[in-house]
Symmetry: C2
C-alpha cells in the first residue's frame, strides 16, 4: 500500500530522470495519480512502463515545443510536437480556458500528442474557473463500426465536467464502448467469460471470449448491436475521432499510432500523432454563475431523488463513484498490484532512482 503522495513523488522523479523538467514531471505525475485516486488504475501506475518504453524507443519528445498553429478568438489548433500526452493536453486545455475567459468559450483541437491518461482530468481543470470543461481523444483502433469487422476506432472517451453550487460537480468520463479495454484484459487473466454484447469475433459473430481481440475480433460500440443502437455509439466515436484528429491534423481512425512501444509504428500516416479536442464554456457566458450553480444543485438533487430500481440503493450522479473512491483512497492509500510494483522497481533501478517495494 502506498500513499498517493509517495506515488506522486515517485512518478515525478521518474519522469525527471527521463529528462522532463520539474513542472512537466509534476503535471504528468498529477494525472497518473488522479487516475489511481479516481479508481481508474488502468490509466495509472500500470501506464508508467508504456511511457518509459516509448521514451527508450525514441518515440516520445521529452522537451517538446507545444504551440498554437492557428487560432481565432474562440478556437485554436495546438501542435503537441510529440509530447507526452498529459503535457500537450493540459496546455491545450489551458488555452481553451484562456479563450473562454475572453470570448465566452474556447475550443482546441490538438495534434502530435500521445496517450493523455484520463479524459476527465482536463475537463475538470475548467471547474475552478466556473467553466464547463470538455475533453475527448481518439485512441488506438480496437473498435469496429456497426456492420463491420475492421478495427477502425479507439475507445474514444468523452469527459464533461459541470460546476455546481453546494453539490459536488457533475463529472462524466466514459469510453464510447460498452466497457473499457482494461476490463477485457482482467477477465482474460482470470479465465472468465464476459457478457455477450461487448465484443465480436473476426467474422462479426457475438462472443463472450475476452481474448477475442487477439484472434481478429473487435470491440463493439456503445449499444452493442444495431438493434440496441450500436450505430449511435459508432456516431459518437466517429465524432470524437473527427473533432480530435481531422480538425487538428492528427492521425484518425485506424491510423492512430500505438501507445505502447512493443507495437510497431504503422506504415501509413495521415497526420501527426494522436489527437485530442478540448472545450471550455464560462457558465456566466450563459447565466449569472450563482443562478447556474443553484440550478445545477436543483438538477442534481432532483436526479438523486429518482426512485431506485428493485434491489438498487440509489441513483448516482456522474462523478459520484469516482469521488467516493477518491475520498477512501486518500485515507487508506493506493494498492498497486505486485506485478506492477515489480515493474516499477525494475525501471527505477534502471533509471537509478529509489522506489520502495511494498506489499
Amino acid at each position: 500500500m502506498y500513499t498517493h503522495e509517495y506515488l506522486y513523488d515517485f512518478v515525478k522523479r521518474f519522469f525527471m530522470a527521463m529528462g522532463c523538467n520539474e513542472d512537466d514531471a509534476k503535471l504528468i505525475a498529477d494525472v497518473f495519480i488522479a487516475a489511481e485516486l479516481r479508481g481508474i488504475p488502468s490509466h495509472g501506475m500500470i501506464r508508467v512502463k508504456d511511457y518509459y518504453q516509448l521514451w527508450k524507443a525514441g518515440r516520445i519528445n521529452i522537451r517538446p515545443n507545444i504551440r498554437i498553429i492557428h487560432e481565432t478568438p474562440s478556437t485554436a489548433v495546438v501542435d503537441g510536437d510529440g509530447a507526452i500526452g498529459m503535457l500537450a493536453a493540459s496546455k491545450s486545455m489551458e488555452i481553451a480556458i484562456e479563450k473562454a475567459s475572453k470570448a465566452g468559450s474556447g475550443w482546441v483541437s490538438t495534434r502530435g500528442s500521445n496517450h493523455y491518461g484520463i479524459a476527465g482530468y482536463y475537463a475538470m481543470m475548467a471547474l475552478k474557473h466556473d467553466m464547463i470543461g470538455m475533453s475527448i481523444t481518439n485512441a488506438n483502433p480496437l473498435v469496429a463500426p456497426t456492420f463491420s469487422v475492421s478495427q477502425m476506432m479507439g475507445t474514444n472517451p468523452i469527459a464533461v465536467a459541470i460546476p455546481a453550487g453546494s453539490q459536488p460537480p457533475f463529472v462524466a468520463d466514459f469510453a464510447t464502448t460498452p466497457i473499457a479495454r482494461g476490463k477485457l484484459a482482467v477477465a482474460e487473466k482470470k479465465g472468465e467469460k464476459v457478457s455477450f454484447g461487448l465484443v465480436q469475433d473476426k467474422d462479426g459473430n457475438p462472443t463472450d471470449d475476452p481474448s477475442v481481440l487477439k484472434k481478429g475480433g473487435s470491440m463493439l460500440t456503445l449499444g452493442g448491436d444495431y438493434e440496441h443502437g450500436s450505430h449511435k455509439g459508432y456516431c459518437l466515436s466517429a465524432i470524437v475521432d473527427i473533432f480530435s484528429a481531422v480538425l487538428s491534423g492528427a492521425n484518425f481512425g485506424p491510423f492512430v499510432p500505438p501507445s505502447v512501444a512493443y507495437l510497431p509504428l504503422l506504415d501509413k500516416k495521415v497526420g501527426e500523432g494522436t489527437g485530442h479536442f478540448f472545450g471550455a464554456m464560462r457558465i456566466d457566458a450563459f447565466q449569472p454563475a450563482e443562478v447556474f450553480k443553484a440550478k445545477m444543485d436543483e438538477w442534481i438533487t432532483t436526479f438523486r431523488s429518482a426512485r431506485p430500481a428493485a434491489g438498487k440503493d440509489k441513483v448516482l450522479i456522474p462523478g459520484d463513484p469516482e469521488r467516493e473512491i477518491e475520498k477512501r483512497l486518500r485515507m487508506e492509500g493506493i494498492s498497486v498490484l505486485p506485478v506492477i510494483v515489480a515493474e516499477l522497481k525494475e525501471m527505477a533501478d534502471e533509471m537509478g532512482i529509489e522506489f520502495e517495494v511494498r506489499g
Copy 2:
C-alpha cells in the same frame, strides 16, 4: 402518395391559417418535410396535429418575440417566448452561425421553446457556411437513469453535421436511447414484442412489452443495462439536458412540458418551456477549409472501405441512410398513413383550407 412540394405547401398554408407569418410558416413546413424526406416520419406529418392542438389549447405563441437574453462573442442565451420549436431553433442556430463567422465558434442555449422536430435540420444549417453544426434538445421524460425506475429524461437527441469535399457531409442524428419512442408505438400497434434491453417495467425488470410505458415502465438509456454501459447513455442524456435547460433556464429533466395538448401542463416549473443547445464551428477556425474537407473525404473513404461483417453489404457513414431515402422519396413521393391523411383532412376542414385526400 404526395409530392414533397404538395405537403410543404399544405403545411405552410396550415400554419399561416393558424396565424403564422409566411416566412415562419415556410420554415416550419421545411422542417416537417425534411423529417419525411429523411425517413423520420415520426417527426413529420404525424406531428402537425400536436402543434394544432397545442395552438387550440393556447399553449403555443404564434407571434413570438424570439430574442437574445445574454451574450458574449461566442455564446448566447435565446428566449423562444413560447414559440413553435422550429422557429426558436432556427433563429438560435442562425445566431450560433453568425457568432462563429466572427469568433470562430458560436454556442447558443435556448429556453422557452417547444418540440423542434428533427435535431439534424439545425445541425445541417451550418454546412453551407463551411461550418460544423451541432444541435441537441431535451424532451418529455420517458427515460430512466441507470439504477432507477423514474422517468427523468427525454430521448434527448444529438445531431452533428460535418462538411466534406467531394464526399457528402457526415450527418449524425440520434436519440440517446437504444431506439426511438416511435418504434415502440409501432410494435405495440402491430401486437409485436420488442427486444429485451430497450425498456423496463415499473420495478426495473427487463421486459419485451412495447406498451410498458403506459404501465409505469420506462425507456432505458443507450447501453441498456449497467453491464452494457447504460450509465454512459445516462451521462450523454444528462449532458444534453443540462446544456439545453440549465444553461438556458428552461425546464430540465422530469419538468420538461408535454409536447402534446392531451397531456396536462405539469404542476411544477423550474424554467421556461423546452430547452435546446446549438453549436457552430467554422472549419477554417482550425484548418484551411480545403485541407479539412480533403481530410474528411479521406476519413469517409477509409471508413467506407472497412470490411463488412458476414452477411452485411457495407459499412455506412452517418447520414448515408437518410440521404438515400431522401433521394428516393424526392422521386417517388411521400406516402402518408391513411389515419394521418384523415386527421390532416379533418384539421384542414376545420381551418377552412384545402387538403387533397390521396391513397
